[in-house]
Amino acid sequence: MMANLAALQHQMQSVILRRTATAQHGGSTTSYQVPRDDLLSQLRPPAHAQTDAMLDIYCNAYRSRLAEVLEADLANLSAYLGKALFEHAAAGYIEAHPSDRQNVRWFSRNMPDFLAATAPFSNWPQMAEVARIELALADAFDSANAETFSLAMLTSISPDDWATLMVVPHPSVRRIDALTNALDIWIAIDAGTEPPQAKRLNSPQHLIVWREATTPRIRVMSIDEATAFDAAQPASTFADVVAAMTSFEDQREAAKAAVGFLAGWAAAGMLACVDTDAANSHPKQETPA
């Protein structure tokens, strides 16, 4: 008896995912493998090959395709882990995180959390952080466009307007606080050189990732700069940014430091202009060419 379309798709997907199903028997729940034979019995024998082997083409292609996506998205992590360990990580991730997006572009996004939470990878925290850095750079590459707030714009602000000046990070900006020397490892791998020995840092390394023109960038921030930048996310007045810089005893000193940070961010393209038409302070979209 041919299953209806919905049942057939459920069955085929379960076989491809090699999922177990659960059944209730009185008060107990039993897990069982979705019967592959049920699906096979509904398939017509192929011209020359075995039906079972032909069904395996779909099962194998599912895993190899997603493994290729992970390899492409996390090429430096792959180089760092080596072929066998990366394949082990990829296989575990594919089973644990089936894609739930229409676009495979975002399939890899949970890999840092997977590595951080799953043994044996969780024993080496730099792996998750290398992955986080790599994906942040990829996100910056094709993140939303916005008109950048330039250094020239900043210098044209009159002193009376500084307190209410809106500080809006560019949509490409990502912040990472690394607990290991993952950045040094990532840089070495990216340059094709031997990575340094992994080590835990005494204090977090504050990283900022953003897109300058079309190129993703990453650099280290001091704790004061990171505090100021985090206060500006997703948008804040300059006065609020200064108020968040509590490590400075003197607010004038904090303001002076904040001006320096702001100038650096503006020069690097880390800030966006404010969309004054929006109800809240959103980055202003670039006018299409």
Partner: protein, 303 residues
């Protein structure tokens, strides 16, 4: 049985674009600096359904210079999961930017229960499936405001109980919905080898009118079966089937899909020239109503 035979949103059938290629990032620089002898490009829609950055900048430059069509891989038109209207709106947004000559996807499903397997999975050719898919095509065409173009996929399994052949299914779907067909010559070849049908029977079973595009591609031949990998050159058998397709359908916009082991642009253009020569040869012998095929000039300027 589905009774709705409403026509698609009004649009005239797209014309012949000539000979194109799938746009691949490995070729961006050569395309933008070299003006290769390619008449048009097909983009993978999802590659450009991103918020911003360089991909969309490059796409804008390509669209300024060449006609472009959009080819998606995630519509999952045959899935029994609900249609993803957010995805469809994203396709429509991209179409506003690209102004494609047509928008295509595959006659397949890619997942159910909120999971996407990112594969082009086969369907049983039953009236149940036909009713289901035809209703969804109508909805998609409403959202997109234009006829959808659907491609026949390669398949490795076929279902024992079916009400019709694949070509009968495709024909009836176009009749019911007014959608167009992207006739993938390689996919017909691959499925014919795997399932043991005659590819010419498939070809002759498809009506001429809805066919707006041909795909050509390479595959992996394992003897007893063939896998559609798009990572090899196009084999002679597929080119022979292409000749038969041109004889049946006339001058249809033709392009080569290459997704892996991507050779230099000049090599793919040379392969495209072989398709161009086959079409020219056929159309010279069957010249009744088809547009002449010309080699595209290399010095095309923006129009």
């Amino acid at each position: 049985m589905e009774s709705c035979n409403a026509p698609p949103p009004s649009a005239s059938k797209p014309g012949f674009l000539g000979f194109g290629l799938g746009l691949r990032s490995q070729h961006y620089n050569d395309i933008l600096t070299g003006n290769p002898a390619v008449d048009w490009f097909e983009i993978i829609s999802e590659n450009f359904m991103v918020p911003g950055g360089q991909p969309l900048q490059i796409l804008d430059q390509i669209c300024e210079r060449y006609p472009v069509v959009m080819h998606g891989v995630s519509m999952s038109i045959a899935s029994t999961a609900p249609l993803d209207f957010e995805y469809l709106k994203a396709v429509r947004t991209l179409a506003h930017r690209v102004r494609p000559k047509w928008i295509s996807d595959h006659l397949c499903w890619t997942g159910v229960h909120g999971i996407n397997l990112h594969d082009l999975l086969p369907i049983p050719y039953t009236y149940e499936a036909l009713d289901h898919i035809a209703a969804r095509v109508h909805k998609v065409q409403e959202v997109l405001g234009r006829p959808l173009t659907l491609e026949n996929v390669s398949s490795y399994v076929a279902f024992a109980q079916q009400d019709m052949t694949e070509w009968e299914f495709l024909s009836e779907l176009t009749r019911r919905t007014g959608c167009y067909l992207l006739f993938d010559v390689n996919n017909v070849y691959v499925s014919a080898r795997n399932h043991g049908f005659d590819p010419i029977e498939f070809l002759n079973g498809i009506p001429r009118e809805p066919v707006v595009q041909f795909h050509l591609a390479g595959h992996e031949d394992h003897g007893d079966y063939v896998i559609d990998t798009h990572d090899h050159d196009i084999c002679d058998d597929v080119f022979n089937l292409y000749r038969a397709a041109v004889e049946r359908f006339g001058a249809v916009s033709t392009m080569i899909e290459r997704d892996d082991h991507i050779p230099p642009l000049a090599d793919v253009v040379a392969e495209l020239d072989r398709a161009r020569d086959i079409a020219a040869d056929v159309l010279e012998h069957f010249p009744t109503k088809w547009t002449p095929v010309r080699r595209r000039k290399c010095d095309k300027t923006k129009s």
